[in-house]
């Protein structure tokens, strides 16, 4: 059910002011990549392993019902009872009835996210059953009455003092803040629970159709006790955990521990197949009996996702939480602001499918689309892409907010109106400072907010400078069109001038098709696909008319949108297909194109000495386009510059489209960290390949390090070319 009356802004503010949380998360964000890399040191080809897992899951979801049937048949053959629960209510009804029939009074649980998803404990307790979570972290948050704030480390938001307080309250004795001591206290208290329990409830990390076994990957040993001591064992498992064969567990077992906790293997990997013996005391004597096993396969939205062409990808989620661990937003605010039990970007998607769409809508803007998560995900899930897809569906169903609709449909669809507005903005930027309209415009218009220094709209946009900067090239080697994008055209026209200079120096004829407009990414980001299509059609037409060999963009976001996204949004329009393909084929990102040309011309020789320059990888450049070596080669070869790397060079600067403007409180700490890393590198110049990052970082430098200059790679190259 959807959580009502939430004030997300207030929740974010509270989390940002929670010193314990901030400390824990930032330490973890530092430590995680190191331990993950160490754990994978003996995996020869991680990408192949991820691919293997992804393929296995993709094959499985295509036949999920058959696989479930096979699993059920094999488990049943071995004495287990299998129940398919369509939702939480059905599951609870089955389980409560079972407890009544079998005289169950006491239950011990090992971790099961699926049971938390449906708030199972609450319902069981309401029936008078005694239920104990036995995973230490889960026990802590159960005592504290909290929701998990991380999928693997549910109590990461608490420190030892807080845990000791909760323990003292629960056990009615003074518990010191010594961690090993507290762990022993948990061992003793929960040991009694294990020994007395009638029923053990576990989750499952996988269920094997071939032999009906379930697998559990744990560290504490509680899941082994839950599946061994009580006379009844209940497994709660979502459909997404099913895999065809025993050997298919390999790509799970080789990734889950490494990605989740930086271990090559957890302390225990347990597989339980069918009924197994247990010892029961009868009339004072121990008797060996078969344990009763019930396996509940939970649907609760999962089968709908399985049949959804895009969202079947969520079956690739291992619940390792590596996506949270690298997420710039999660590592600032933790898991609670995500509302339900699944945190982070993947959590937003799971929440939409397994909980409520309403809760998704409240948090969907928390994804900044930096794609760090996609880079580490064992299942290669395109988390930001799925979030954008969900947004698009929401817009299709519910429409855009009114103000945005007016702007998108009337302003952004019409280049002339839009550009007139921009020119007006350069004259009188004041009128745009308030009102709802501003944040729905492409992000640079919102630069007029007062929270940070952002560049104003330029007096003369690039399009008005073209005649001045265009050189006549004799026998040009190529005819190139420049796609400026809003930022370069109207905010950083100098970058555009540098691009012209560099390309013309390469003996290329450069043209600027007048009818080009915004690439459409800002409206796509808001989920308005129809307006984006209109914009795309105009751009494609403008460049077709220009009749060029190559289309260059010096903005990775525009480049990706033109090169890749246009083809996707016209996938259902066969009439456009050939045109889009031809157009997209010509699109090249500036730095990679120039590096290629320079390499051919022997202009990539490393130089030493000069001004120290470091490079910031834009999210879209590195993870969207896969370009990160080329700009470095250009900088290393640039005369008068000495290239140096900085820490976390590819971590998001916090701009991320509308996010940086709307969630200034989240964007600013990310920017601050970026500026610190730039300063620590000792660089005097920070080079970027993306105008949006340039805007953000420039604003931060202005406030924190005014001596450091920011330059687009194009500008640095242009400096080395004589006029």
């Amino acid at each position: 059910m959807e959580t009502k009356n939430r004030n997300i802004r207030k929740e974010i503010e509270e989390k940002l002011n929670d010193e314990v949380l901030r400390g824990a998360l930032s330490r973890f964000a530092e430590a995680y990549p190191v331990s993950r890399a160490k754990a994978y040191e003996n995996v020869e080809n991680l990408d192949a392993l991820r691919e293997q897992f992804k393929n296995m899951k993709s094959r499985t979801v295509e036949h999920i019902e058959e696989i479930a049937d096979k699993f059920e048949a094999e488990a049943t053959k071995r004495g287990a009872k299998v129940f398919r629960a369509k939702d939480g209510d059905a599951l609870k009804e089955y389980l409560i009835k079972l407890c009544k029939e079998k005289g169950v009074k006491r239950i011990v649980k090992s971790k099961s996210m699926a049971s938390e998803e449906i708030h199972l404990n609450h319902s069981l307790e309401a029936e008078g059953l005694h239920v104990k979570e036995t995973d230490l972290g889960e026990w802590i948050i159960a005592i504290a009455g909290h929701k998990p704030s991380h999928m693997v480390m549910p109590a990461i938001h608490l420190n030892r003092q807080q845990v000791a307080e909760y323990f003292s309250k629960e056990l009615k004795e003074d518990i010191p803040t010594d961690i090993p001591y507290m762990v022993q206290v948990a061992r003793q208290n929960l040991r009694e629970e294990f020994l007395q329990a009638d029923m053990g409830i576990s989750g499952a990390n996988f269920g094997i159709a071939e032999n009906g076994a379930i697998g559990l990957v744990t560290n504490e040993g509680n899941a082994r006790l839950v599946t061994t001591l009580p006379r009844i064992h209940v497994v709660i498992m979502g459909y997404e955990k099913l895999i065809p064969t025993i050997q298919d567990a390999s790509s799970i077992l080789r990734q889950l521990p490494r990605s989740a906790t930086g271990q090559q293997m957890t302390s225990y990997m347990t597989m339980v197949d069918g009924v197994t013996p247990t010892m029961v005391k009868k009339d004072g004597k121990w008797v060996e009996e078969d344990r009763e096993v019930h396996i509940i396969i939970l649907d609760n939205g999962r089968l709908k996702a399985a049949h959804d062409d895009k969202f079947k990808e969520i079956y690739n989620c291992l619940r390792c939480a590596s996506c949270l661990n690298v997420c710039p937003v999660y590592t600032l605010v933790g898991g609670h602001v995500y509302g339900h039990i699944y945190a982070g970007g993947i959590g937003a998607i799971l929440t939409a499918f397994l909980h409520s769409m309403g809760d998704f809508e409240k948090i969907n803007e928390m994804c900044i689309g930096c794609r760090k998560c996609t880079e580490v995900c064992p299942g290669k899930i395109n988390i930001p892409g799925l979030i954008e897809e969900l947004r698009a569906r929401t817009v299709k169903e519910n429409g855009l907010p009114f103000a945005a609709k007016v702007v998108f449909e009337n302003v952004l669809s019409n280049r002339k109106v839009f550009h007139t507005l921009l020119r007006l903005a350069s004259v009188g930027q004041k009128p745009f400072q308030s009102g709802k309209v501003i944040r729905h415009l492409p992000l640079f218009l919102a630069g007029m907010t007062k929270e940070r220094s952002l560049p104003a709209v330029a007096d003369t946009p690039l399009r008005d400078r073209i005649s001045k900067i265009t050189k006549k090239i004799d026998k040009p080697v190529k005819r190139v069109a420049f796609f400026a994008g809003c930022n370069t055209d109207f905010v950083f026209p100098e970058t555009g001038e540098s691009v012209f200079k560099v390309l013309q120096d390469l003996k290329m004829e450069v043209v600027f098709p007048e009818d080009q407009s915004c690439c459409g990414k800002p409206v796509l980001g808001m989920g308005d696909r129809e307006t984006a299509k209109n914009i795309a059609k105009r751009n494609i037409k403008a460049f077709e008319d220009a009749n060029v060999d190559v289309i260059i963009s010096a903005c990775p976001t525009c480049a990706e949108t033109l090169h890749q996204t246009y083809a996707e949004i016209f996938a259902d329009e066969p009439a456009m297909k050939a045109r889009v393909e031809k157009f997209a084929h010509k699109v090249r990102e500036f730095s990679s194109f120039v590096a290629e040309q320079y390499a051919k011309a022997g202009r990539l020789t490393k130089t030493t000495g000069g001004t120290k320059v470091t490079y910031h990888d834009s999210c879209h450049m590195k993870r969207g386009l896969g370009i990160y070596e080329e700009p470095r080669k250009l900088l290393e070869a640039a005369k008068g510059y000495e290239f140096t790397e900085m820490k976390d060079c590819d971590k998001c600067c916090g701009m991320a489209g509308a996010f940086g403007i709307k969630y200034t409180e989240l964007s600013m700490p990310m920017l601050k960290q970026k500026i610190t890393n730039i300063k620590d590198s000792g660089a005097e110049v920070i080079a970027v390949g993306c105008p949006a990052c340039m805007m953000q970082i420039q604003g931060g430098l202005d406030k924190q390090a005014p001596n450091i200059k920011i330059k687009h790679v194009a500008q640095i190259l242009a400096e080395n070319i004589k006029d």
């Binding site: 929960l190 390999s250 597989m271 339980v272």
Partner: protein, 200 residues
């Protein structure tokens, strides 16, 4: 004792198991806080266990039988030391919760992760491996597969029903402040006696 498979060795992948993987297995196992002792004969293993019983001040021991335990003569040795030793299923059920040491054997090791594979179909074996604070296992030092892939290749041949565990060091948690603590619900110490003389 009930087992998932009576002869695991038959299912080891041809050419992909053996003593050559021991050093990697040992390094990774130790990195996961397993204590590993390599001995030539099972009888040498008996000495190590007897010393462990003495140094830990153990009084009560639960053990399941198996070829390696039998060959080592450990049960008689512990009894001779005057310790309480329980080996029947009902005795184990009765005493396991208060036992100081559990003794059993595992089928093979995995070099990639430093894990061992335990056939836990028998309830007594599981109890012995889960509840006491110290779990000691015997294994043949040449029964090692290189990786998780090969381990699952073995399982796919033999695992038709029952209970299997890969054990990698002692029980652990990092749920409070991500500080690693050893010995939550399972053993605080996990000791492997790897025997060179092959006993099957």
């Amino acid at each position: 004792m009930k087992k998932v498979c009576e002869n695991w060795k038959q299912s080891f992948p041809a050419g992909k198991f053996g003593e050559q993987y021991f050093s990697e297995f040992e390094a990774r196992g130790k990195a996961a806080s397993a204590e590993i002792f390599r001995v030539k004969t099972a009888a040498e293993g008996k000495q190590i266990i007897a010393e462990l019983a003495e140094t830990t001040g153990a009084k009560k021991i639960v053990a399941v039988d198996g070829p390696l335990q039998d060959a080592s003569g450990i049960i008689d040795e512990l009894k001779n030391m005057g310790l309480e030793v329980y080996t029947s299923t009902t005795d184990i059920a009765e005493h396991v919760d208060t036992a100081d040491i559990g003794i059993s054997a595992v089928e093979f090791g995995i070099a990639e992760t430093g894990s061992v594979c335990m056939d836990g179909y028998a309830i007594e074996h599981r109890l012995v491996s889960m509840l006491p604070p110290l779990h000691i296992v015997f294994m043949n030092s040449s029964y090692i597969v290189p990786g998780v892939n090969e381990a699952l290749e073995v399982l796919s041949k033999v695992f038709n029903r029952g209970y299997i565990s890969f054990i990698t060091g002692p029980s652990r948690t990092a749920d409070i402040e991500r500080v690693l603590s050893i010995g939550v619900h399972g053993p605080c110490r996990f000791v492997i006696i790897a025997v060179d003389e092959e006993i099957n």
